[in-house]
Symmetry: C2
Subunit: 198 residues, 2 copies
């Protein structure tokens, strides 16, 4: 009897936990992307779970922001999947990848501000492993095709992409970069940085 009783609730509890975690990550992405100071209590409320339940899954604000970041970048990475990145001439493909990355980042720039405050930059970069693999593959192809410079290490060029697009998000948030100039500024910056040197 005890065995049977103990066996039954487990899948139900697991399904509950999954549902709660999914709701927390969705609410966290939504609230933090609107206001980077959104509190854990507000996120719990929006997710329809109690604070005790939330803290059971994510013991600190840092742990919550970390999980929300991972979730949001995972979704973004799926959005970035685009076969033409492998077929268009590399500079055109780069402009396209910058445009779609910026569109995603700009929408979630306050979540990035929340992550900037709660997590080390290196940790934020780790979360971007998926998208950065796309950037790396594209730059490597451009180098092979003679469209991109080869006098700087590939890993460094990937880093500049990460660093420059996130700087643009900061500049956009502080008002130092106007919304309507960000995309062109990013494209010009990145393409002149990647261009083969005379």
């Amino acid at each position: 009897m005890i065995k049977a009783a103990a066996r039954q609730p487990v899948p139900a509890r697991r399904a509950d936990a999954e549902r709660n975690i999914a709701a927390i990550l969705e609410a966290g992405t939504r609230l933090l992307s609107a206001d980077h100071t959104a509190s854990v209590a507000e996120i719990a409320k929006a997710a329809g779970v109690g604070r005790v339940t939330l803290y059971g899954h994510f013991p600190s604000r840092e742990a919550l922001v970390d999980a929300v970041m991972d979730h949001a970048v995972g979704v973004a990475d799926a959005v970035l999947a685009d076969e033409s990145l492998d077929t268009l001439p590399a500079p055109e493909a780069m402009a396209r990848l910058l445009r779609s990355s910026w569109e995603l980042l700009d929408r979630h720039r306050r979540l990035f501000m929340a992550a900037d405050r709660a997590l080390a930059t290196e940790r934020i970069r780790e979360h971007h492993e998926g998208p950065l693999r796309r950037v790396e593959r594209l730059i490597a192809r451009g180098q092979g095709d003679g469209d991109f410079r080869t006098d700087l290490p590939l890993t460094w060029l990937v880093t500049t992409f990460f660093s420059i697009i996130h700087s643009a998000a900061q500049e956009r948030e502080t008002g130092r970069l106007a919304p309507d100039e960000a995309e062109q500024v990013l494209t010009r910056t990145m393409l002149s940085l990647l261009a083969p040197q005379r």
Copy 2:
């Protein structure tokens, strides 16, 4: 009597406070530049003050890191003062400013890691107002001389300097950038980013 007694100790207490604060900032710069996880207790010990005294001046690790950052950048800014930055051709002056900035940042890169964990990127940038004014003046002169591009906003070009040099410090700390290649990589990156576009 009371008046006289109350008047005397104040300058002495102020002098003590000044001495303690200076010792804390010096020890904080030294310890955090060696190990970004150095604790408040370790910094108090190295400064020769009690923890209560330290917390009296800096109520949190964040406040301490913030003050240490401000102190270290202030010293760095004085080191960067160099008249030739105003007279050399702008690209040469830029290479020189990059070299001296990198030399300073590389030596203090763990302090920067500590700041990255404790402070928002925007706050770290605020601390760099002094050095960034030098960068801005130099880029503006290079634009006027026709040596640097004018198709991107001046504030954005200053931001890329800040962002790229700090990325290099991160890359150096994680081992993705070799110590002996950092300076050349930085110079090439920044000069090709500033070059007038064909």
